[in-house]
């Protein structure tokens, strides 16, 4: 016989009411598993204050991080994908686009904006990995091309922030030619003597690496980012061996001479500013 008798049966508190903290207040670092207050995480430019893991952030966060007082103008915000090949795999490409737009609130895998960084006029194209793996189709190529055109016209530096699995298969030949289109514009930018900084973030692979991402006057990266042409799985299959530790990490690519430096995201704005000031 118990001393107390339960009047109501079972646990009746709804799950939502039981939470000690409101949703989104804490961020758990996927690398060291430490829980960090989201406000603190934001102050640290979305890097972990414990292990310095750089969270995969999108265009919005980079714009807010780099443009003064988060003031900027987005170019071609409404540009979206066509479906020139009427591509269908297990799903129709148009449906894939629509559901991704709905899920992410983005129009495609890159956004371009112009504004000032510590007073210096700058064009930034930043990729969003959440949109079909940051894949490069016609929209990505065209928006970057127009961003470079803007830089050419206004004689201001161009910053490309890549985060992509490579070309978008559903646009096949069209997507391949975006490599050529963006590289053509970069050739013009180089000829005009306008600085081009390419920031390769985690991950940057495939056709993006084999075109604009590797063509910077300065190729820079964030700590630990995966950078390569072929993906690790493909290489592993080719050579039939496990890959060495740290293979294709930003540090590895720096060591082999294809990056100029690795920059901690917390220092990104100031370091870019110093660099661009030296070029003026």
């Amino acid at each position: 016989m118990s001393w107390f008798t339960r009047k109501d049966k079972g646990i009746q508190t709804p799950t939502e009411a039981k939470r000690e903290a409101p949703d989104g207040l804490w961020y758990q670092c996927p690398s060291c598993k430490k829980a960090i207050h989201t406000r603190e995480h934001r102050v640290f430019a979305f890097t972990c204050s414990n292990c310095n893991y750089h969270e995969k952030i999108g265009s919005q966060e980079y714009f807010e991080l780099l443009f003064d007082e988060t003031k900027y103008t987005e170019l071609d915000p409404m540009m979206g994908s066509g479906d020139p090949l009427e591509f269908t795999d297990t799903k129709k490409y148009v449906d894939r686009i629509k559901s991704t737009e709905y899920k992410t609130g983005l129009k495609d895998a890159v956004r371009t904006a112009v504004g000032n960084m510590n007073g210096l006029p700058l064009t930034i194209s930043a990729m969003d990995f959440s949109f079909i793996g940051g894949s490069m189709g016609s929209v990505v190529g065209e928006k970057i091309a127009r961003g470079i055109d803007y830089s050419l016209k206004h004689k201001q530096p161009f910053l490309m922030i890549s985060r992509s699995g490579g070309a978008r298969m559903m646009e096949a030949g069209f997507s391949l030619m975006q490599m050529a289109k963006t590289s053509a514009k970069l050739a013009l930018l180089a000829e005009a003597g306008i600085p081009y900084i390419s920031l390769l973030t985690d991950p940057t692979t495939g056709g993006v690496t084999a075109s604009y991402a590797m063509l910077g006057d300065f190729n820079i990266s964030e700590p630990g980012a995966l950078i390569g042409f072929a993906g690790p799985r493909v290489i592993k299959e080719t050579i039939g061996k496990d890959l060495p530790k740290g293979f294709q990490s930003a540090e590895f690519v720096l060591e082999h001479g294809f990056l100029d430096f690795i920059v901690d995201r917390k220092d990104l704005k100031d370091k870019l500013t110093s660099l661009l000031q030296m070029l003026q």
Binding site: L85, T90, M169, A172, L176, A187, A210, M214, A230
Partner: protein
């Protein structure tokens, strides 16, 4: 041993029958003129029917036909003299990427560059299956810049299943090498003609395929990924290569109708592998014709046209 693709077999059977018939005629001294004539017509009809209704996957199979002419085969047949040039002056000489100066009918000195495949197991390994390493792309660029220096046109023959996805290739910057080629090819002051003669797989192809004229031979493919890899990624199985080939729209006709190439070079009926001389003859005529036309254009205009052409590629909604 001749290699026969599935759809080539009915034709080959009839051709064998024709040979048999002629042999019997000689042995038994009978007149088979009429029968031979009707069978020959039947073969031609069947060939025309088969080759005008090829599926995209069948084109891919033809592009990889082991008897197909490769880069050096074409160069040998097109040029009265060819001097091969080796090495990237930095790391190595990539055997999967060949190049050198060649003479066409004493009219043109041309810098030929192209991926090279091998014909037997030993050669295939030697040529790394036509998959260049970064030094191959750097060798190609060195040769292009040399052509520019001596004011000679560049002709690139593209035939690759892709840039090599190896460990050392990554260490030596495969992505950077291809990217630099693509960018720098836009600024070459000399005429550049690029012709897909077999497989045109992705960045590995594009790394030598930025030109004033980009042409595809009739039975070739050019796309961002091979049908097999596309199947494995999008369908998560290797079994959908036919569907993938259809979806990718990777044939010469597809690429032309999408405005991604400038023209198609016809092949002898049945494919280039059946008549190397015939295929090379057409190729030579096309190269001469295009070079004559491009030579008339001011170099600066040529560069701007080249940039303009690629800048227009892509379909977006605004």
């Amino acid at each position: 041993m001749k290699t026969l693709l599935e759809f080539e077999k009915p034709i080959a059977e009839l051709e064998d029958k024709l040979i048999e018939m002629r042999k019997l005629a000689i042995e038994n001294n009978v007149d088979v003129t009429e029968a031979v004539k009707s069978l020959t017509e039947k073969i031609l009809e069947l060939k025309q029917e088969t080759f005008s209704n090829l599926t995209r996957w069948q084109r891919v199979q033809l592009s990889r036909h082991p008897d197909r002419p490769y880069t050096l085969d074409y160069i040998e047949k097109i040029c009265s003299e060819f001097i091969e040039i080796h090495g990237d002056r930095s790391v190595a000489d990539d055997k999967a990427m060949v190049g050198g100066f060649g003479n066409i009918d004493d009219e043109f000195s041309v810098m030929f560059i192209g991926q090279q495949k091998g014909r037997n197991t030993k050669q295939r390994q030697y040529r790394n299956f036509g998959m260049p390493n970064p030094e191959g792309y750097r060798k190609a660029l060195r040769l292009m810049k040399m052509a520019e220096k001596f004011n000679k046109p560049v002709v690139c023959l593209i035939d690759t299943p892709g840039a090599f996805p190896g460990l050392e290739a990554e260490e030596r910057g495969q992505g950077e090498a291809i990217a630099r080629n693509i960018r720098d090819m836009f600024m070459l002051k000399v005429p550049v003609i690029c012709i897909i003669i077999g497989e045109g797989a992705s960045g590995g192809a594009l790394g030598i395929a930025v030109g004033d004229k980009v042409l595809m031979m009739e039975n070739t493919w050019y796309s961002v990924i091979s049908p097999e890899s596309c199947s494995s990624i999008l369908w998560r199985s290797w079994n959908y290569k036919e569907q993938a080939a259809e979806a990718l729209k990777l044939t010469a006709n597809d690429m032309l109708s999408n405005g991604l190439i400038d023209g198609i070079i016809p092949e002898p009926l049945g494919g280039a592998h059946l008549d190397h001389d015939g295929a090379a003859k057409t190729l030579k005529e096309v190269i001469k014709r295009e070079l004559t036309a491009l030579n008339k254009v001011n170099p600066q205009v040529r560069i701007l046209d080249r940039i303009e052409k690629f800048s227009k590629m892509g379909v977006v909604q605004e």
